[in-house]
């Protein structure tokens, strides 16, 4: 009886996992489709056409390039800002840290449509033209919180007396930072930067409000429902999935290696 219950529970969990993967399977499958018309929504026949010519649609290619540029800019700035906040929150006790925590959480508990529309109303109010820079501004805004909270979770509870030890041994502050502090926080920063990059690449709602006439990859996909939905969209989505998988695997390996090197034993990550 108890065994049956466990079997049912495990089976249920596998079914939920299958549900999570169903659309991913469809996305990959349909990247090999040769659709009858302009819309890749009905299965016709198997073909490698889209994979052999992924950049056939210039607008799609341009949109992808824009998305990557936005993600690179916003990730760089948000990772810097967020990491500094995380350092302040873990290293110092200061007046107002509660307010800082609240300010970090609020963007996460505000619907994206409110974030996007309020930012647009600010840009309208000051007569700013929406375009590349407003997209980057918006992406930095929502990424800072994620970076700060991720880095903080990763470095909380670390033994900071190592820094003092280095200083006692006569290391100048800059050297302490590059030789002690940075190696400790680097894996957390890498994880946070990857998260920020992925969020930026994927963001649709906030970008829709603040993009002006610029078209990112998600905005292109959104527009594609009216004009044409080529299998190349699926090819790029599959490619993003593969690259993230590689990046994820690489960071996990790297993190475990640095942890083993630095401390001799794995420290808790979360």
């Amino acid at each position: 009886m108890r065994r049956l219950a466990r079997w049912l529970l495990d089976g249920y969990a596998w079914l939920v996992l299958a549900y999570l993967f169903l659309p991913i399977f469809v996305i990959i499958l349909y990247s090999f489709n040769k659709p009858a018309g302009k819309f890749n929504f009905v299965w016709k026949s198997f073909s490698f056409d889209a994979w052999l010519d992924p950049f056939r649609f210039e607008a799609l290619f341009e949109a992808m390039k824009l998305s990557l540029r936005v993600a690179a800019f916003s990730t760089a700035v948000a990772t810097l800002f967020g990491t500094l906040i995380a350092l302040a929150l873990t290293r110092y006790r200061f007046r107002g840290s509660g307010a800082v925590n609240l300010l970090l959480v609020l963007p996460l508990t505000t619907p994206e449509v409110v974030l996007g529309s309020s930012l647009l109303s600010l840009f309208l109010d000051v007569n700013a033209r929406t375009g590349f820079s407003t997209i980057v501004i918006a992406h930095i805004m929502f990424s800072v919180s994620y970076v700060a909270l991720t880095v903080r979770a990763r470095i909380r509870g670390f033994d900071w007396t190592l820094e003092e030890a280095a200083m006692d041994l006569g290391a100048p502050p800059l050297r302490v930072f590059t030789k002690v502090t940075l190696p400790i926080i680097a894996p957390g920063i890498a994880a946070a930067a990857m998260l920020a990059f992925a969020l930026s690449l994927d963001d649709f709602i906030i970008t829709l409000f603040n993009a002006g006439s610029r078209v990112t990859y998600p905005l292109y996909v959104y527009g594609a429902r009216r004009a044409a939905f080529p299998p190349q969209i699926n090819v790029l989505a599959t490619a993003i999935l593969l690259v993230s998988l590689l990046a994820l695997g690489a960071t996990v390996v790297w993190q475990q290696r640095t942890l083993r090197q630095r401390t001799g034993s794995p420290i808790p990550l979360a």
Binding site: A5, V16, I85, Y92, A237
Partner: protein, 281 residues
Amino acid sequence: MAGTAAGGARRNRLAPYLLIAPGIVWLLVFFVAPILTLAQTSVEGHGAPWWDGYQRALSNYGTHFFRSFRYSLAATVLALVLGYPLSYVIAFRAGRLKNLLLGLVVLPFFTTFLVRTFAWKTILNDGGPAAWLLQQLHLLSPNGRLLDTTLAVVGGLTYNFLPFMILPIYVSLEKIDRRLVEAAEDLYSTPLGAFRKVVLPLSMPGVFAGSLLTFIPAAGDFINAQLLGGPNQQMIGTVIQNQFLEVRDYSLASALSFVLMVVITLGVVAYARVLGTEELA
């Protein structure tokens, strides 16, 4: 000597503020100030009284608000029903597969949100695989549809925010001391009893966080309603987006957006109260 020591201390006291300054200023200028501008825009009547935007928002789009909260509540409950057992299995029964399974939960969400939703459109399409299967099983009438239904929209919302439910629940389950469960069983509790009295209460913070992280984005989402639903399934996000970007009735659009934010904030506070008192009991 004493002077330098005091100077060092002062620098130390300033240090955290210098560290937080760039990020916090960014959030004040591009998160807090916009919300204030939104509030201000919403009460600019342009000749009409200041509450005009709000009056039109509530009288014309009350159904959209209501529908959005209904759908996102349904999606949150569904995500909880689907996500809790999976989190439980990963935390308590996966053993060495734990990290692999967690990776599998997150992996689908590395493909673009919009492309995923289009994939659901492909699956649920008229004459598509899901409709065909259900028609063969006589669960769907021959001309019945899956697309453009409430079920499709709620299903899409559930799917898109499921990892936000699974991960916090997993984290809170993972933290539970296994010896507590063993102690309950030593004291002749049944497995179900141990779950109900020990595991479930201790996992409530995860359920709380997961529900919020699912409900909030779902309530503001309009992609699922737009791609998987018909005209009768449109949510408040569609209206806000349309009023802001197409109609450009800014006082109405800002009022709608502001009402959404306020209602959600009140809901969050109330939910925290309810769950908090239950934990005390």
